[in-house]
Subunit: 213 residues, 4 copies
DNA sequence: CATGAATGAGTTTTCATTCAT
DNA sequence: TATGAATGAAAACTCATTCAT
């Protein structure tokens, strides 16, 4: 009966947090309502009071996590295309010791794989993917318009940058390929960013920290 | 009692095939022994006769799938670094309609995500990852040595090429991003291969079909 | 704490109405407090405020429904035994389209079956049964005394008439035996009423509508 | 997966027996799979091995009980219409102390009430009802043809006899109306059988015992 | 009075695994 | 090998009831 919108913000957030922790701890395949309840300070029944089924709860969780990232995507400290591109790419880097960010990336990855078998998940995550691609594409398009970047296909380039980053990060979080995300950042700088620059302008030195895409 | 080595080759292969089909159909998270038995022409009990536990069966399956790909990785029709690189990259492209290859890529992806929570999976898939990275790195190194490619870090470049391809393919198979793998191939040609070439030598026109990495 | 006598008449009636609708819609076996609350314009908690337990609420409902019928049983427009008997029998007939009356008969039937497993229900419904049997028995006794009916056992005859009617009605409401109650009315006229009449007096033509026994 | 036909006769019968005992003990409304398992010498899981759902098990039970009665309906020791009618009616009588037969009648009654809310039950029980009505109607028709009974509507008369008996028996088993079924037998003899007989032939003295309808 | 939140016991169902044959 | 039967633990989900407000 109760749907996510009826849930009190606090309780809703608490459940989302518990779900997040349980998902990271047990993995999607072995995640049970009990696991979530164990991370929650209320009873298991209450989860069913707020969400009729496990599926519904997890769907709310996908909405939550996708929304969380989306909110941070737009944030930027500069208008400069090159800087914005570097900032975007940099946010994907997960350094050793940043376990929370690695965990977050993993949760998202687990959901993405489930999306294959879950239409509702797929719909939401496809939007998330498109938003990311578009974000990079917009930066590239802006750069071209500003004469900073050479003329490339902004959409195709944006997609390549985004999926390459996700691919590297996947190896880092699933197989423990240490610093793979940072190495991809460097490779993008070497092969893509450098190539995009029409003149000899030097890429800035940077170190960022932002949303986990 | 019985361990995988005791399994008759034929039965073993049949079970591996059934596991593959069941995994693709139901997804790792919802995969049951019954699902596997349903794709097998024998009973569920027989699965337990051959493999003591579900975990053991799935582990044998990871070995099987990783071995299958490994066997094909070495195959190549040429010695030429540029051609070998193009051939490698090209093997990742999954065109619309190649459902079997998409399905295979998905199965591998599901296992990769499980690897986070399963040490034995992780070990085997990490080797698979390293083999792939090394394969590309070797091609790049050969190219540098042959003077065809400019001097780059072969390992870092190999890893970037491989993970970028996997990242693009992931979006194609999970979220239905049509032709994402082909677009990544083209972006790699545009940004990486082109950049690697020291002279104005033209990349060959190619269309390959190979192992699913 | 709160017992049925504390309940405000209006609220009590509203709850009884909601219980009735919920019972008819879901059946006793699947009836939940939530089902009743759904037919009520107030919350589920309020039901527990008025009735400590579900059992108590349903017991009040049995009282309510039995009392409702009892109130109507005495009503009659005539003193004439034959007419009163015909009127009584006629009130059991449920014609096609009289869904409300069919529904009511079903609710009563559901409660009667539960009575086997519930002493309190049984007590109340047994009284209801006895009242009905007595009502017919009185009519028959009056008829005998008035010389309109031949000498039969009033109690046994009253019980037979009543239970036969209920039996026929049961098939109509449970298995959809259309017009079974009317056919029973006609059979009672043919075999019983006609037989009771000492002389050749014709049974009146009638069509009634009254309480659901 | 498994359907009733696959179940080994013995196990099937054991489960049906356990279901019967549990149903009588707890009533349909409160019947749980655990209750059935408690009457079964095997585990609760086994019930689900044989019947996917509780609903399916109960449906098999309806089939079983209806089939059981049906098998006995045809049995008769005579060809004589009057005797067959008396025998049929007599089989409905449940004497004090015949608790098994009372229990059986109750089980059937419980299922009949559930039929309202369960299409599959309704279908099977409607057939059972029609078979019974037809059985009596055939006896009456035979009697008319043989000149033993006067000309009445065999179907309507058959239905009235059957539903009257069931109605009386319902009061006996639900409200403890002792000997109500026997009294109905006597009333049917007095009002119906006697009336049917064209000449002064005396109804035989009888006392039967047969299937519970 | 009235409600939404919360709970715990219980209910159906699932599923890996074992066992007798 | 091969299977159907059987089991126990755990899973999702239900629901009457209680409680704070």
């Amino acid at each position: 009966m109760a749907t996510e919108v009826d849930v009190q913000p606090d309780t809703h957030e608490e459940i989302m947090g518990a779900t997040y922790r349980a998902l990271c701890k047990h993995g999607y395949a072995h995640l049970t309502m009990q696991d979530i309840a164990d991370e929650f300070d209320k009873s298991r029944s209450l989860l069913h009071y707020h969400y009729d089924t496990k599926e519904e709860l997890l769907l709310a969780f996908v909405d939550n996590i996708v929304g969380y990232i989306g909110d941070r995507l737009a944030e930027s400290e500069t208008e400069e295309p090159l800087e914005r591109l570097e900032e975007y790419v940099d946010r994907f880097v997960i350094e050793p010791g940043e376990e929370d960010r690695e965990t977050f990336a993993l949760a998202l990855l687990e959901l993405r794989v489930q999306a294959v078998h879950n239409e509702a998940f797929r719909e939401r995550l496809a939007t998330h993917y498109e938003t990311n691609v578009q974000t990079v594409a917009d930066i590239v398009a802006d750069g071209i318009e500003a004469g900073v970047f050479r003329e490339v296909d902004p959409d195709a380039t944006g997609e390549a940058i985004y999926t390459a980053l996700v691919g590297a990060r996947m190896y880092q979080v699933t197989l423990g390929a240490e610093r793979a995300s940072r190495r991809m950042r460097d490779r993008l700088a070497e092969f893509v960013v450098d190539d995009l620059l029409t003149d000899g302008r030097e890429p800035a030195d940077y170190a960022g920290n932002g949303p986990e895409n």
